[in-house]
């Protein structure tokens, strides 16, 4: 069992992503907007010869679209055969965690509780574990 988690920053807060869903972390130089697409889609960007969809993680939390700073990091995930870049403020570390994820506390604001899947405890820090599958297609869980 792989217990490695990628620690990243979304809207100023540190979160954890399971590394088994992460392909790589890349820097995004520029993106092309997708007109009339859902607001959490920041655009398209090219990774070598592939075209990836750039997901604005901050939008889920703050409701404010982020302005892409050239060179900003994105976490590349592959979900359902499609590659996405999750645009984050920063990528900090990879840590190993033991133990089970704890359920989400009830008082989380809507944005965080949507993207979160549980709490993770490592040493003396607690991270919100987020769900990339929700980020790339929020309608799936709402419908379910």
């Amino acid at each position: 069992m792989n217990n490695l988690y990628l620690i990243a920053v979304i809207a100023g807060e540190t979160v954890a992503l399971p590394t088994n869903q992460v392909d790589s972390v890349v820097k995004v130089r520029e993106s092309v907007p997708v007109p009339s697409a859902a607001p959490f889609i920041s655009g398209l960007f090219a990774l070598r010869s592939r075209v990836l969809t750039l997901i604005d993680c901050q939008f889920f939390v703050t409701g404010e679209p982020i302005d892409l700073v050239p060179g900003q990091p994105a976490i590349v995930v592959n979900i359902g055969g499609c590659s996405y870049g999750l645009l984050v403020d920063d990528v900090l570390d990879v840590v190993q965690m033991t133990g089970q994820a704890m359920p989400l506390p009830g008082q989380l604001p809507a944005g965080w509780s949507d993207i979160g899947r549980g709490l993770l405890q490592v040493a003396d820090a607690t991270y919100l574990m987020i769900d990339p599958e929700y980020l790339v297609n929020p309608s799936t869980r709402r419908a379910a």
Binding site: S31, R48, G80
Partner: protein, 792 residues
């Protein structure tokens, strides 16, 4: 048939491998419905495949297992350990038989009655008999297996990986190309690079090809399937397929094979009635089943139409009630269409009895989920009592599509060229855009089309300061009966793009058909013409002008084909055959120059003469027609392009051959029609190198001969060949030989004329074949005379 069996073996083996872990998990927790469903699907698939491959042993086994699993799924039976064992034993037996088949042997005789009986009992643990195949020594079996495998199933991941790699190479190549352009490098580097480019292009094509297949591959086993089904069910069906040569991504072929088979089974089993029943209701005894495939824009449409009894929605609803898929309140609230769609609910079937063919309610739900997984859709057109038409729409993915790139709101988009009929500027006086009742209509040459701006559809800002004062209008054929005019900022280029599906969140809108990465490395969205029409709500309005177009085409008047009406720089209106015009382009005047007494343009990496200009014009841009005869390219400068017209059948020939080949009467206007043949014959330049007569230059290989004499000879229309005086006859049949210098000896055997070029003026005139080396007039005179003689 053989390769179908091979494929069945490979496929079953693969699924067995994938299933192994599921089986173990199911064994641990027999209540797990998800595992049960995947095992059920496997057994069902095996049953389906061996049904038409004529493998009765497999069929018996899988049918028995499926029976039991269906009972478990419906809760009519407990998944006891003994039952699980029995099912596992059946799956193991299938695996063993597959291995036997793979070695190319005949299937061993032997009934599987023991296993099938075991499935019936549920309590006592069972003893599994060993398969009755005589055990082969391991190495012999391995050798036989090596022989049997002739094809390789390459994982799609690998092909995708290759494709990505090649695309990377292409990008790298482009980068190198840029470097080469910026810094002057040697010719050898250029050549090597050319080779590399050709190589890469070739490889990309080849790899792209490996993914494309004709739909024939699925259609060809259909007749057999239909025949066997008919024999089993006592029905008569006439199967017709069309569109066999439609090409589809290999992955798509794999994905639609099973759904298509399911639909056909359903049609024959439930749709088409027995001959007796058909006779009673006055239908011909033989039912009809039409399967057709065609490409429509960026989709492949596969239509399966039968003339059977259609879907009985009432029966479907009562089934839905009894099987508790929906409750009564839900069902009553459903629209007719939604009721029809109950057929896609899992676990529902309209068949009265479970047969070996179908009727277990696996099928339509799997069909739909398979089709939707590849981004397709399935539509039903139910005609109770008369037939059912199933329409599968699957996208074209990873295909290279010729596209037009357009700009709107400062962003670039691609549009499949197949949907584009015409491109016009809104400054064209044939175009009138008018607002009627809140929507815009474009009148183009008497045809009235709904007009929408792409920016409006996509929610983009109209560029307030466009670089050009006019907008471009594209008339789009979104579907056979749906046309509209789309306004964009400008049309940029025509490119062939590798299109891939976008993320589901992007594709969900329906506005986009995919994403692509052009050479500039900025991702681009491919617009879906039909999706745009939906967004503009054009479908509801129907067609605005049914009288034009079709009617005119129905009674074609013989005429001289289409011609382009344009204004010359002098202001005269003239016509040119449209087939000779490749495209119209605005070219920056910077790219024009006077060279060799002609105005020439540097375009597409070549220098081409421009006809119709005597000097570089003062304006910043000129409008050029690209003329082509399929081989040569010429540019023709015009003031403006006005319209496309039909030429009358009779064109009055011009009295003298020249630029104007004839006069056409359009209404009351007499218009000159350009003679395309004359243009190419007069401007086409010299014939190619190998067609020219040879001229041997004999003497030392000195700079004067090479750099001064040879170009003069070449300009006179010869192919200069430098040889030394003592060289043997190299087989070239020179028309003229020129001996350079007084000292050089004349070779013995020379055919054709001989000219000696003298170093000094004094020695000339001794005989008429000796010319002073700078007596240009005399030398050229001889050369031209020689050429006319050659021509004569």
């Amino acid at each position: 048939m053989d390769d179908l069996v091979q494929e069945f073996i490979a496929e079953t083996r693969e699924t067995l491998d994938a299933l192994a872990s599921e089986l173990v998990l199911w064994e641990q927790d027999p209540q797990d419905s998800e595992r049960l469903a995947s095992i059920f699907r496997f057994v069902h698939t095996v049953k389906g495949s061996c049904g038409f491959l004529n493998l009765p042993r497999f069929e018996r086994l899988s049918h028995a297992a499926e029976d039991v699993l269906a009972q478990v799924r419906d809760g009519r039976r407990e998944a006891s350990a003994a039952l699980v064992d029995a099912v596992l034993a059946v799956i193991d037996r299938i695996g063993e038989l597959i291995i036997v088949m793979e070695t190319g042997e005949a299937l061993p005789d032997g009934s599987d009655a023991d296993l099938i009986a075991a499935l019936g009992r549920s309590d006592e643990p069972l003893e599994i008999a060993q398969p009755k195949a005589a055990p082969l020594p391991d190495d012999a079996r391995g050798a036989a297996r090596r022989q049997a495998i002739r094809s390789i199933r390459v994982p799609l991941d690998l092909i995708d990986h290759l494709m990505n790699g090649v695309s990377d190479m292409v990008l790298a190549r482009n980068e190198v190309a840029r470097c080469l352009r910026d810094e002057q490098n040697g010719a050898s580097l250029d050549n090597a690079f050319e080779r590399l480019s050709a190589c890469i292009a070739d490889m990309r094509d080849a790899i792209g090809q490996t993914r494309m297949q004709r739909i024939e591959r699925i259609f060809s086993p259909m007749p057999r399937l239909v025949r066997d089904l008919c024999a089993d069910l006592g029905k008569q069906v006439d199967l017709r397929t069309s569109g066999n040569n439609v090409e589809l991504d290999r992955e798509m072929i794999e994905m639609i094979r099973d759904p298509l088979t399911h639909i056909i089974r359903n049609s024959i089993d439930h749709g088409i009635e027995s001959p007796a029943a058909r006779r009673i209701i006055g239908k011909p005894e033989t039912g009809r089943l039409n399967i057709s495939a065609r490409q429509s824009g960026n989709q492949i449409l596969i239509e399966i139409a039968d003339d059977g009894r259609g879907i009985d929605t009432d029966k479907l609803m009562s089934r839905a009630l009894t099987s508790k898929v929906r409750n009564a309140a839900e069902i009553n609230a459903l629209s007719e269409r939604a009721r029809l769609e109950l057929i896609f609910a899992p676990g529902l079937s309209t068949a009265d009895s479970v047969t070996a063919v179908s009727g277990r309610g696996v099928g339509m739900d799997v069909v739909r989920s398979n089709i939707e997984r590849i981004g397709g859709s399935i539509d039903l057109e139910n005609n109770p009592g008369k037939g059912l038409r199933v329409i599968l729409r699957v996208p074209l993915t990873l295909t290279i599509i010729p596209c037009l790139t357009v700009r709107a709101g400062g962003q670039e988009f691609a549009m499949p060229r197949s949907a584009i009929r015409e491109i016009l500027f809104d400054t064209n006086n044939q175009v009138r855009i008018q607002q009627v009742g809140g929507c815009d209509l474009a009148h183009i040459r008497g045809e009235c089309l709904p007009y929408v701006a792409l920016e409006t559809l996509l929610g983009l800002e109209l560029n307030p300061d466009p670089s050009s004062s006019y907008r471009t209008i594209i008339t789009v054929n979104a579907a056979s009966d749906l046309r509209y005019a789309l306004g964009v900022e400008e049309v940029i280029d025509h490119e062939e793009l590798v299109v891939r599906p976008g993320a589901p969140v992007i594709m969900a809108d329906g506005l986009y058909a995919g994403t692509t990465l052009p050479d500039n490395g900025r991702p681009m969205l491919l617009l879906d013409p039909l999706g745009l029409a939906h967004r503009a709500q054009l479908n509801e309005r129907g067609r605005l002008d049914p009288s034009t177009g079709e009617d005119a085409q129905a009674t074609p008047v013989p005429d001289g084909g289409s011609a382009l009406l344009f204004r010359e720089t002098s202001g005269d209106l003239r016509l040119i055959a449209l087939s000779a015009v490749e495209r119209v382009e605005d070219v920056s005047t910077d790219r024009l120059a006077i060279a060799a007494g002609q105005v020439r343009v540097s375009i597409d990496g070549e220098s081409r003469p421009v006809i119709g200009l005597s000097a570089v014009p003062a304006e910043s841009h000129v409008k050029l027609l690209h003329l082509t005869d399929g081989r040569m390219q010429l540019m023709y400068s015009v003031d403006d392009v006005i319209d496309i017209v039909r030429l009358p059948a009779k064109v009055e020939p011009a009295p003298r051959p020249g630029l104007v080949g004839g006069i056409a009467l359009l209404g009351d206007l007499q218009l000159e029609v350009l003679d395309v043949h004359w243009i190419f014959s007069s401007q086409g330049g010299a014939p190619s190198e190998s067609e020219r007569p040879a001229c041997r230059l004999i003497g030392q290989d000195d700079p004067w001969t090479r750099n001064i004499l040879a170009p003069l000879v070449a300009a006179a229309g010869y192919r200069p060949i430098l040889t030394s005086a003592d060289a043997d006859d190299d087989g070239v049949d020179a028309v003229i030989s020129i001996i350079v210098g007084d000292a050089a000896p004349a070779p013995v055997a020379l055919r054709g004329q001989i000219i000696r070029l003298s170093d000094s003026i004094s020695s000339t005139g001794q005989d008429c074949d000796t010319i002073y080396r700078y007596d240009r007039a005399a030398l050229l005179g001889r050369l031209i005379a020689g050429q006319t003689r050659q021509a004569g």
